[in-house]
Symmetry: C2
Subunit: 217 residues, 2 copies
DNA sequence: CTACGAATCATCCGAAGGGATGATCCGCGC
DNA sequence: GCGCGGATCATCCCTTCGGATGATTCGTAG
């Protein structure tokens, strides 16, 4: 009877899957979570792909997942991949609390968002809360999300726009960016125009600086 | 005799001071380092100031210090504060390997620079190497540092050039910069040309990015 | 005294950037 | 199925940028 069905645990034990590309961080979480007897680490993953695969075979209740994972699939991607169904709750763990990331994580179906500098107990509490289906955002973060929605940078840049702006920031001309991204120069210019619209800037240089400061690059 | 003099340990044990503002990371390091019997964690600090104080009272052989620490004093600052004397070796630990940071850390007297995604054994080896006075940089990092030294910072920007580039980075046009600095547009263009010469760039955007990365703005 | 770098300004010109518009194609959600 | 946003491309036109050159003034280091 300890084979759990999706969404139900056999006991009161919360099955946790750790996902972080840093061995150090995984070790730290492991150490911290052993302090809570109701938490059981049933697996660890280094990459997003690995995390998704493990989550599907081992039925964790909660996936504790770093936002940045090195490979293509980041924490938000993991949350998105595992959303719906009788799926595990995904708690995003990260170092920085940029507004965009919180919003993206929640939109992707994450159960919550935690900073790595949180107190150990806060992390444990968050896992317990996530296991019961609660959404975990600190008061600070909630305020910030709301504030962001209201005031801040219109909306986030699309993937492609980030690509273009990154190249532009590296000093490439529109033509060079076009070659690098295998599109026409016209497309690059269009993207840059949209970027300037979204960021409220009037030049690539300003856009780059703003996006940098917002942590969007 | 286990009161060590600065720079000499009573036994073969390496005294390590952990500095990181994230409890999770400290826990992880603690767990990983216990695997090495010759490493003794003689203290932990959360902030740069705390780290410097502890380092001065507890004579660690190696200070393992996160680059970003939340408060004013970052890892580089800690390295700088503890340099000279019979001081401990400072190993900078970080998530990202930006050139500027490596260079700054080494210039500040750090014994080395490690990425957090390094293998546990690599971290342990690095601490041992640092304890013997070696400088610890991975092959990749060494290459990059050398490349940076060789190609990048010809010579520093003049004050005026920094003024201009800062304005340019804010997205001002040459004319606007000229107005702001009370000079003619021609002067601004001359400055920008000199800046591009010095930084080896061909556009204001690239120059801004490079100068930013070098910490010159 | 002289040489040199920094700061200032100027002119010329081709290359690039940015604004305005419009169009097609595709995927997703209501 | 229709609308909407993202990604793609195009054309027109004006502004700005960047390269090349040359000049003056002013400190300061040699």
């Amino acid at each position: 009877m300890n084979e759990s069905h999706a969404g139900t645990t056999a006991y009161e034990v919360i099955r946790v899957l750790l996902v972080d590309d840093h061995p150090v961080v995984r070790a730290g979480l492991r150490l911290l979570l052993t302090a809570a007897r109701d938490l059981d680490i049933i697996g660890e993953a280094e990459t997003g792909a690995e995390a998704i695969a493990l989550a599907r075979t081992r039925n964790p209740d909660v996936v504790l997942c770093d936002l940045r994972l090195g490979d293509g699939v980041d924490g938000v991607g993991v949350a998105a991949a595992l959303s719906g169904r009788g799926a595990p709750a995904v708690l995003i763990l990260t170092t920085y609390d940029h507004d965009r990331d919180i919003v993206r994580a929640v939109e992707a179906g994450a159960a919550g968002y935690l900073l790595k500098d949180a107190a150990p107990q806060a992390i444990i509490d968050a896992i317990r809360a996530a296991a019961t289906g609660e959404t975990v955002l600190s008061a600070d973060q909630t305020e910030r999300v709301v504030a962001t929605m209201r005031t801040a940078p219109r909306r986030a840049l699309s993937e492609r726009e980030v690509d273009v702006l990154t190249k532009a920031g590296a000093g490439l001309s529109n033509r060079e960016i076009a070659k690098a991204l295998l599109v026409s120069e016209a497309t690059v210019k269009t993207h840059l125009a949209h970027i300037n619209d979204k960021l409220g800037t009037t030049s690539r240089t300003a856009a780059f600086a703003v996006a940098r400061d917002l942590g969007w690059l």
